[in-house]
Amino acid sequence: MTTPQVKAPRPNPVALLAAAAACWISAPGAQSLQDTPGLETIQIRPNVHVIFGAGGNITVHVGEDAAILVDSGSAEMADEVLAAVRAITDRPIGLIINTSADADHAGGNHALASTGIPVAGAPFGAAPYANVLAHENVLLRMADEGVLPYEDWPNETYTSRVRTMYINDDGIVVMRQTGAHSDGDSMVHFRRADVIATGDILDLHQFPVIDPARGGSIQGELAALNHLLEITIPAMPLVLKPGRTLLVPGNGYIADYAELVEYQNMITIIHDRIKDLIDKGMSLEEVQAANPTQGYRERYGSDTGPWTTGMFVEAIYNGLKNPPGIE
């Protein structure tokens, strides 16, 4: 039996034209189109886009009522974010939901909200301004720390386990998940689109930033990841079909159940290793020397920058030695 050959196709005229066009575009003096500088926008559902590069990831949900943003990026990138939103939709920004008080997630609040109007319309005589919603602890944290100016503070807060609303023909569930990354964490589930914006609870760039000084804890982080596992639906039982819940992490690429399982397993295993070392009577220095993140450190760790592997281990160590009260 001889190896069967496929009949060679004819030259593709479209490809020839494309090659010729490429030669023209590469010639000196030719103009090229550019996206919003420094940002990338990816459409993940018919009415859901994600903007990357403005600090934390920004989820944009569009529909007949308004543009809804989960997080607003850093203050420095607010103009670029606004341009990126305008490239997605001409609907005004009606609601910004902050997943935490971090400046890379909420720094663009004022610049973006001031271009919008509330979903329910501006009160008579009031200047148009979009709703900025966050857990109450975000407001308290911003007021206490003064990292972000007053204008960036949320103008609407919640404290309940969930805050629900129906906008853009979609059920939106804002879930209180405080005590994980910080004491103001929220996750946002767009139920019809089946997209969950996780905030920094899921961070595919690094180990999760568990900041005890701002109310974060390893116990809360694991509780949040286990909660996410319950509401994130994999491609199952029809595993060859694309349908599944999509996750927008605080940083990093668009994820699904598989990335979440890997991340939850990693954090649980590191937690267990550090707990075992504590149970053996080791000090923090001895735990650090034992390298309990090995197996994951090259992928998620860092020896420099604002969140090092050492800080991550220390946060878990201290959290296990002095457990916080978790809801």
Binding site: L16, F52, Q294, Y296
Partner: protein, 336 residues
């Protein structure tokens, strides 16, 4: 424009125009291919042992993660239906089914699709010149691959994979930063798949492996495993948030290859320098083969009674080889 610049531009444009003409050498890949178990029999048949990382250029990170693995881990409800690494089929007794997606007008091949029922996803190798997506894009379980013909070999470059175990059943990890270069070469009714895997996290140098499949004209026409459901196999884990794993230094199989085959631990643990033939010289004077063989002593040649088999072996592989292709598949499915 200088003469050099002009020549460079002319060369570049000529190359682009030539590239726009489809390559002539294109081999028909469509069909079903069965695995040939005489090749790397243990690896493709019953499967490698826990603690057997021989032949792998692993980093310290990879060893640490692999040694935390227990066979309970893939049995958790969360992991039972997760897809496996795209090319893990090279380590499994599983068929491949390949078909093309064709342009409805020109008939040209837009993509080759490779399905293996081990994966719970298909691998699509795009042939239409499209770019790889952004690093921020969602990653299908089968990764994202583009291909081109190099003579009679289809060469594909794959990116955008998920973190997954890259071999079978013993926890050797692959990171989401893995890239694959894959060569699909058909010689008559044999299909050779050569995979070059590069992983800056878990591999200290590229891992290269090739395996052969045989065209099966009466093969099944559809991939299995289009469905997967979970079941509670470890009751105490249900809704617990617990993850089964070994703590560092507590994996009882870490020395399995040493105590079973007298293989030096550095070779069993996947240190890169042990992959090369020169390594045999370093252990020639110290290696002592085990006095007797109690498991997987016979390869495919001995099993089939073919010439060239080692004499006087007691074959004990639990009857795996006698099961036949369907029996082996059922056995492996039951073990997952």
């Amino acid at each position: 424009m200088t003469r050099t610049t002009f020549i460079t531009a002319l060369t570049t444009c000529s190359a682009l125009l030539i590239a726009a003409v489809p390559a002539r050498a294109q081999v028909q890949l469509t069909g079903t291919y069965e695995d040939r178990l005489y090749e790397d029999y243990i690896e493709r048949g019953p499967g490698s042992d826990l603690g057997d990382y021989t032949g792998m250029p692993m980093t310290d990170e990879a060893r640490a993660k692999a040694l935390s693995y227990t066979s309970n881990m893939p049995m958790t409800i969360e992991r039972q239906c997760l897809s496996q690494a795209p090319w893990v089929g090279l380590y499994r007794p599983r068929l491949y089914r390949i078909w093309s997606i064709n342009d409805e007008t020109s008939g040209n091949v837009i993509a080759w699709v490779v399905a293996g029922n081990y994966l719970r996803d298909t691998i699509t190798i795009w042939m239409d010149g499209r770019e790889h997506p952004s690093e921020n894009a969602w990653r299908p379980s089968g990764g994202f691959a583009t291909g081109k013909w190099e003579g009679n070999t289809l060469t594909a470059r794959m990116t955008h994979v998920k973190t997954a175990w890259i071999r079978r059943g013993n926890g050797i990890p692959g990171s989401d930063r893995t890239t694959f270069t894959v060569h699909l070469t058909r010689h008559d009714d044999l299909l050779t798949v050569t995979v070059i895997q590069e992983d800056p996290i878990y591999l200290s140098e590229p891992h290269v492996v090739s395996r052969v499949w045989q065209y099966e004209p009466n093969g099944r026409q559809g991939p299995e495993r289009t469905q997967c459901n979970t079941a509670n196999e470890i009751p105490y884990l249900e809704d617990s948030g617990l993850v089964p794993h070994y703590l560092p230094g507590e994996n009882p199989e870490e020395d399995f290859m040493v105590r079973t085959y007298n293989i030096p631990k550095e070779a069993a643990m996947g240190h890169a320098h042990t992959l090369y033939p020169e390594y045999r010289n370093t252990i020639r004077d110290t290696y002592v083969p085990p006095a007797s063989c109690g498991r997987y002593c016979c390869g495919w040649i001995e099993r089939q009674g073919l010439p060239g088999g080692a004499p006087n072996l007691t074959c004990n592989d639990g009857g795996f080889a006698e099961l036949g292709p369907r029996g082996r598949r059922l056995m492996e499915e039951a073990s997952e």
